[in-house]
């Protein structure tokens, strides 16, 4: 694999679903690139559009919302 650009991605993970899923991915040692910067929210519904914009304004390359 060639050296690829490694982006920084802002991630919002729902406490009960995706965050737990991400924990489980860890427990199962599924490997993925270290691109995410995770913010835990109680629900993906908590993710205000303003947070997404704030993410881009701060310089993230993408925003990933999972719940």
């Amino acid at each position: 694999m060639t050296e690829k650009y490694e982006p920084k991605i802002l991630a919002f993970l729902c406490n009960w679903c995706a965050y737990a899923g991400a924990d489980l991915a860890g427990v199962s040692r599924f490997q993925y690139p270290p691109t995410l910067r995770v913010i835990r929210t109680m629900c993906s519904g908590r993710v205000d559009p303003l947070y997404v914009i704030e993410g881009f304004k701060s310089g993230y390359d993408a925003v990933f919302v999972s719940g």
Binding site: K4, Y5, E6, P7, I9, W16, C17, A18, A20, G21, A22, D23, L24, A25, G26, V27, S28, F30, Q31, Y32, P33, T35, L36, S44, V47, P49, L50, V52, I53, F56, K57, S58, G59, Y60, D61, A62, V63, F64, V65, S66, G67
Partner: protein
């Protein structure tokens, strides 16, 4: 999230930069897969230049803060899934159409207010700075005026200049 994605698209930011995925507590493998996908997609899009989109992001932020959009964001779910007072379901296409129209209008207005922040500008100047066609600028300016968000300021020669009344 749909609203944001649409706004970003209007601003020329690829909507792939915002990704929404469902992952349950039991789907560790799926989560890892999604991260791989998103990372890959984003890598292909290349770095996001936040400075280049400064104006656009500010405009989107403004748009998102408008009551109209927030109302629509809040109502979207309700409109699509519940009956209205006449016990009929609003036509989903109509909801989307309304939303799209609102998004576009609020975004444009956001852009105008952003460029007007630094002082009075003419319609042509606004069109130049925002990249919108002159006609659209006039139309949105008109809307702003009727909302009480902008007003005529002065003439520079024959060219009328406008100022923002928004915070």
């Amino acid at each position: 999230m749909e609203v944001v994605a649409k706004l970003l698209e209007l601003a020329g930011i690829k909507r792939d930069r915002v990704q929404l995925r469902r992952v349950s507590a039991a789907e560790g493998a799926l989560f890892a897969q999604y991260v791989n996908d998103v990372s890959e997609t984003t890598a292909n899009l290349g770095p996001f230049d936040k400075d280049k989109y400064q104006l656009q992001l500010a405009a989107i932020e403004r748009a998102c803060n408008t009551r109209r959009l927030r109302w629509l964001i809040g109502m979207e779910h309700h409109l699509q899934n519940h009956d209205n007072v006449y016990e009929t379901r609003t036509n989903p296409d109509l909801v989307i159409e309304t939303l799209d129209e609102a998004i576009e209008s609020e975004y444009h207005k956001g852009l105008l207010l952003e460029v007007l922040k630094d002082g009075p500008l003419s319609v042509r100047e606004m069109a130049e700075k925002t990249g919108m066609p002159v006609y659209t600028v006039s139309k949105r300016l008109n809307e702003l005026e009727s909302d009480g968000m902008a007003e005529f300021d002065s003439h520079e020669g024959t060219t009328p200049k406008f100022i923002s009344l928004a915070a």
